[in-house]
């Protein structure tokens, strides 16, 4: 996704910033650090004078400082795309403030696009801040799984041991087992989570 936008960024004028949330880094993934990371991604190697000046003042930046610097940076950039992966891996207490900050960014810089991923329950929180957010459910895609199995079979070290019929049989059985697994695991998952 990020690579795709970066490919497009080379053809068109786009600026892309991304962040992967990770539950193992929750303490570090504060809203202020996330907004700071987006800002540093967007300024790249050309650090604006305003940021240099603020740094020289020597105090830690506040969220409001970073938001102001971000607004100024976005104004000098082509359309900005902000991608944040696994929102549900943020601390729940940080999520509302993060979404509020993103909403402020979009309000102040209307051309900005935001791409988010997360478990379905995060959708409700997103809706509170972005009533018209578009949600796309992602499920394991059979074509993706098939392509992956085919790729692994292409790399088989002894391809002569497998004729086309055997190969087709292997693909069929693996995909069959995988779809059963998904169906079989889901109720188990429900039992453990409730």
């Amino acid at each position: 996704m990020i690579d795709k936008l970066c490919d497009q960024a080379r053809e068109e004028d786009l600026a892309v910033a991304w962040l992967y949330c990770d539950y193992k880094a929750q303490q570090e993934q504060t809203v202020i650090n996330i907004i700071g990371a987006i800002l540093k991604r967007l300024v790249g190697s050309e650090i604006p004078e305003g940021i240099r000046k603020a740094f020289k003042e020597g105090r830690r930046p506040l969220l409001a400082d970073l938001m102001r610097m971000l607004r100024i940076a976005i104004a000098s950039l082509p359309p900005v795309f902000i991608c944040i992966d696994a929102l549900d891996e943020c601390l729940p207490k940080d999520l509302p403030q993060l979404l509020e900050s993103l909403r402020d960014i979009v309000r102040e810089s209307p051309g900005t696009r935001v791409f988010l991923t997360g478990r379905p329950h995060v959708g409700e929180a997103i809706q509170k801040y972005f009533a018209k957010a578009v949600a796309i459910p992602i499920s394991p895609n059979e074509d993706d799984m098939r392509n992956y199995v085919e790729m692994r079979l292409d790399r088989d070290e002894a391809p002569e041991a497998m004729d086309n019929a055997l190969r087709a049989e292997i693909v069929r059985i693996i995909l069959d087992k995988m779809s059963n697994m998904c169906v079989g695991l889901f109720p188990l998952f429900m039992v453990y989570t409730y």
Partner: protein, 102 residues
Amino acid sequence: MAQTTHTKPITFGNNNVNCNNTTGSYNTTVYNSDIDARIMGWLSPLEPDNRHHGVRTGRFEGVGDWLLETREFREWRGGEDGADKAVLFCSGDPGVGKTHLR
């Protein structure tokens, strides 16, 4: 695993701002000077580049291409609706491949 690498720094616009801010095929961030690196650390200790390299090398090419063809993605990407539809949210349970969408 298929691996996509950028071999040149990516630049766009007239601002000479890097999309990836990278040189070489490893997604390491290169700053002009020590002070620039300190400013970046001051802005945020998070380093999204490092994780992106891991995701990129672990991804199988073409996964999630279908998403790019959806009307929802195109409309969001095109940005015709301005701030109203600024957000696209891909939802799914753990392990369905959200992170590796291309």
